[in-house]
């Protein structure tokens, strides 16, 4: 018996259902678009800025043997060794130049975008996930550290993965979820000492969740993390003797003000806007609370509260410790709080009963991030110092020359990376003979007139706030490096007390560009 053929809407309906079931969800399409935008923002300008002092140290360390690298990390660095080991292996494949080193961080930074989506999807909703991913994709703070050859992008990724599996374990404390949580938490601990401030609230929340049952999986997970903590403890103790005193030069209250501005607007913390940071954060917090209270459903509020609790402890415990004297607080160290905060914002922006206000908040936040990114892109003052440009302005050296850099150690190591024939370290009492003395100062300094007898200005160029002047000295100077640094004050002034003095042997090779 033949069945009558189904035509028209009766046949189309199941096909529509099937097509809709097979088609990717709008959220997935959006996530892909957001990842593409985030990747473009990170990769298109990856080498636009020079390496700064910390990155120059990384670049130098990538040329060491594995043993020497570990020694250097222990002696010179203030973080555990995992990033340096991974970057060292990476550099053997992709090189240790600007592009090769930063590409590692860029890939991690791009990976952070879907991770943010997963965190918000797990705790709130897919829509919140898309908003959280979009915030990560265009945020100048996240873009900055995705383009920095240091440990922060790796730290952010392991922290986000730890947070994701904590959220999953909070919903379903299976051995699998707890195992992944333990693994990523341990990796985060091996990447940065501040990871503990994220893992602490995560562990407490999981312990509260399981109550008195205390499943073996959770105890094992905590033991794994404790072992990782114990492994880095000697490093942490010895690192407190490292030159971290520079942090305390800047008042804690100022650094606290910087946190919301740096988190939201990146390097614009170097602008006067920083004084409004806490007020801005308070207003944003009030709007988010009001949206969640008025427009969110119970499950969304619960997920947002979980993320907010983790973020609050991650931010506040270091502040309290700093106030008590254990002060290592700089905004980038608080990076693990960023993804939980993005989840809270994603939840507020997508509350079901206040969609227009929520969408408005999302647009305002995204627009603020993009405008900040444009300001940073257009103003070299908010970018990393242009040491590559300074090296190009110094040009090739026909004979041995001294380069006096008024920015001290901040200048010495990047210039060593960009200019051939300069040793990584020099002794201040080392005596050298040079016929050219070049001074790298600020555009607010000026050439001393009249110049000392026998001194001729060869060239003077400005590079993004730096004044680069080259002098011929006849007869040549045969002096210690510290004396050359002192005498540079007779050429370009006013001079600082402790400039860096580099000696470059004659090289016809132009600096790397």
């Amino acid at each position: 018996m033949l069945l009558p053929a189904r035509t028209g809407s009766a046949a189309a309906a199941p096909r529509d259902v099937l097509r809709r079931a097979q088609a990717p969800s709008p959220e997935l399409i959006l996530l892909v678009a957001v990842v593409v935008i985030g990747a473009t923002l990170r990769l298109a300008s990856l080498t636009a800025q020079s390496l700064w002092v910390d990155e120059a140290t990384t670049a130098h360390e990538m040329h060491l043997s594995l043993g020497a690298l570990l020694h250097s990390v222990r002696v010179n660095e203030t973080t555990p060794p995992l990033y340096f080991l991974l970057a060292w292996a990476w550099s053997k494949v992709f090189g240790s130049g600007e592009l090769g080193l930063r590409l590692f961080s860029a890939c991690l930074g791009i990976g952070l975008i879907p991770l943010a989506y997963s965190c918000a999807r797990e705790l709130v909703s897919r829509r919140a996930g898309v908003v959280a991913a979009a915030l990560v994709a265009v945020n100048p703070f996240m873009i900055w550290y995705s383009q920095e050859a240091r440990s922060y992008a790796l730290f952010a990724v392991f922290s986000a993965a730890s947070f994701l599996f904590c959220a999953r374990a909070w919903r379903a404390p299976t051995n699998r979820n707890l195992g992944w949580w333990a693994a990523f938490s341990a990796l985060a601990v091996l990447t940065h000492f501040f990871a503990g401030f994220l893992i602490l609230p995560e562990a407490v929340l999981l312990l509260v969740r399981v109550g008195r049952a205390r499943p073996r999986g959770l105890m094992l997970a905590l033991a794994v993390i404790a072992v990782a903590q114990a492994a880095v403890l000697p490093l942490a103790l010895s690192d407190t003797s490292h030159p971290l005193g520079w942090i305390k030069i800047f008042p804690l209250s100022v650094r606290i003000q910087q946190v919301p501005v740096d988190f939201g607007l990146g390097a614009l913390y170097q602008s006067p806007i920083v004084t409004h940071g806490l007020l801005g954060a308070a207003v944003l917090a009030a709007i988010v609370l009001a949206l969640l209270a008025a427009g969110g459903d119970r499950a969304e509020r619960r997920g947002a509260a979980f993320a907010a609790a983790v973020a609050a402890v991650t931010l506040l415990v270091p502040v309290i410790l700093a106030a008590l004297g254990r002060d290592y607080l700089v905004p980038r160290n608080l990076m693990p709080a960023w993804i939980p905060l993005a989840v809270v914002l994603g939840a507020a922006c997508t509350v079901p009963r206040a969609r227009i206000v929520g969408a408005g908040l999302a647009i305002v936040l995204l627009a603020a991030f993009v405008i900040a990114g444009v300001r940073i892109a257009q103003n070299p003052q908010y970018q990393r110092p242009n040491w590559r440009g300074v090296a190009a302005a110094l040009g090739a050296a026909p004979g041995p020359r001294a380069i006096v850099a008024y920015d001290g150690g901040f200048a010495a190591q990047p210039l060593t990376v960009y200019m051939p024939g300069i040793p990584w370290q020099s002794r201040p009492d080392q005596v050298v003979s040079v016929s050219e003395v070049d001074v790298v100062g600020s555009t607010w300094q000026s050439t001393i007139r009249p110049l000392p007898p026998g001194t001729t200005l060869i060239s003077g160029r400005t590079v993004d706030g730096f004044l680069v002047e080259r002098f011929m000295v006849t007869p040549g100077w045969q002096l210690s490096l510290s004396e050359i640094g002192r005498r540079a004050g007779t050429l370009l002034g006013p001079a600082p007390a402790n400039p860096a003095v580099l000696v470059q042997r004659g090289s016809s090779q132009a600096p790397a560009n």
């Binding site: 957001v34 979009a134 919903r171 913390y269 892109a377 257009q378 070299p380």
Partner: protein, 137 residues
Amino acid sequence: MSRLRNLIVLVGVLCAFVSTLAAPAFAAQSQVVADCNAHSRLTGHYSSTQLRNALSTMSADVKEYTNCYDVIQRTLLKQLGASGASGSPGQSSGGSFLPTPVIIVLVLLVLGAIGFALAAVRRRNGDGPPTDPPSGA
């Protein structure tokens, strides 16, 4: 409501706590830089010579980790502008690393994506059953 009130009180207490954190001495720098470093702005009045001197002797870490270079430079340029002086050595030569049109296109893409998302989600919620459960383990 009482929870919300408690939260507001807690935030207030934390803000008060933060504002009382003492600023350390900053003896090595000029008075101008010390003032800016302690307050993130200039609380006193300084001559253009003092401001210029502060800019030319500012250490690299203060430039890197505070807003003092920007704050002092703006104040100096304002004074120079008021006195009719022209030209400012502190102005850098520019150097956008991402062309502004590209950024504008990206902004439009983001805004378009948000609009598309809202429309798509609304359409889907209207057409079919809600499909937004947490993923679970």
